[in-house]
Amino acid sequence: MSGKASATYLPNGLPIPVAEPDGLSAPYWAGLRQSRLLVQRCRYCQTWQFGPEWICHRCHAFDPDWTEVEPRGRIYSWERVWHPSHIALTQHGPYIAVLVELPHVGGVRMVGNLLGDPTQEVVIGADVEGVFEHHPDPPYSLLQWRVV
């Protein structure tokens, strides 16, 4: 155990994200490891798509390309969580999850935590930027957000 609890927004012990056995989301998680945000975009009709799927929902072309995008957006919704639904969160106190809309990526949305004071007032529509959160052992990365 590293003991560096402050290096990540939430304590260790929550479920760790891994790609499905068929590998559908593997490029996304590998991208986060390299501090790059990858989102699917159809090379034929340019439709953005997140989460990933094997087909473009608009034109039905298979295997949409993974495209790097700038990790910025605006808060679409939020919640402040008080009740620990996992033993790792017992005694942790409140934390904030946000749903972030990425207008420059076709309006796709992503869930993350809002960094900073967990009791802060959250404003729907506020601009946020992404912060890559790297976990060393086992290695995986998350995408968090902070108000700009």
Binding site: V18, G51, S77, W82, H83, S85, H86, L89, V98
Partner: protein
Amino acid sequence: MGPTDRTLRGRVAVVGIGETAYYRHGASPDAEFKLALKAILAACNDAGLDPRDIDGFASYSDDRSDASRLAAALGTRRLRAATMQWGGGGGGCCAAVANAAASIVAGLADCVVVFRSLAQGQYGRFGQTTGIDTISGEKAYLMPYGVLAPPQRFAMRVRRFMYEHGVRQEALRAIALASYHHAQANLRAVMHGKPLDPAKYDASRWIAEPFHLYDCCMENDGAAALVLVPEERANEFRHKPVYVLGAAVGSGYRTGAAPHNSPLYASASFETVASDLYRMASLGPSDVGVVQSYENFTGGVVMALAEHGFFKPEEANDFLTLENLIAPSGRLPLNTSGGNLAECYMHGFELVLEAVRQVRGASSNQAARSDVAMVIGGPMVTPVSNLLLGSGGTL
């Protein structure tokens, strides 16, 4: 046969209902499968029907009480229909009835039991997620951020709806108060004898804002069942038959786009399903006398009622008051058994049974208008489902 002939309206009837005692999670002395058997036998007894005459089973949410095991355990003479509705949550509580009804109308079966058996104390609580090391698929984009159990998975949807339409916390509170009010007259209710008032609600802890403790359903052990037969047999049994007037299942365009990417996000998923239901039943919201609306969380009920046309989202604060929501004479008596919040979280199937009781005139909180009773299943998930039941006089 033309398209207008393809309907469930008036074609099948509920002739028996039954449930076990309802328990707090972990408090059932009986195994989950035994609970299923008890509920089914109670429903058959209510109908005055030999359980060996059951020829089909229908359920939802991957119920563990398998149809073939039930048929073997009960010694039913033969099994002709066994349907499981895809999807989790209570979104299937009405769809299971629709699937059973469709089996009967199509001539596949003649006497179908629809049921849900659930012992969260034996198989794990929906509200706890400890014990998962790695996660893939939709939940991989949520759980590492502490969006783990249903309260966290649905709070942002409700928050967005409140933001878009100016809905206040008091609207959510009124739904909780109505359920608890009704539970005080219902001896089956787990929360019987435990009233709720506005001050107690306001002082209760947050689970995930905007949900207080009392905005969230319970976690319980129990089982509930009903028996469906074709309309030509409806009068062979003990009680006044309760007819299916309509049912609908599904969700709109890309509602299943995960994680949290459904185009119509601030929604309970009934945009298309509500209109399908009214069309099949040839009825509208003003014809409905009493509603049972699945409360995973009160905020989902607000959205579901609006999507069924009982009020516009902007009118939610005015419509959703305790006085308007209680039997016998509120504008729209809601969750008259106490429902998932205060009777029992029987995954919504207790709501279907309560709608039958309302049409029979046998509820402990009987609504003044109860010839047409609605059930709304599983807001905010996909697929969702809904159901309209009515007396013989409505056909």
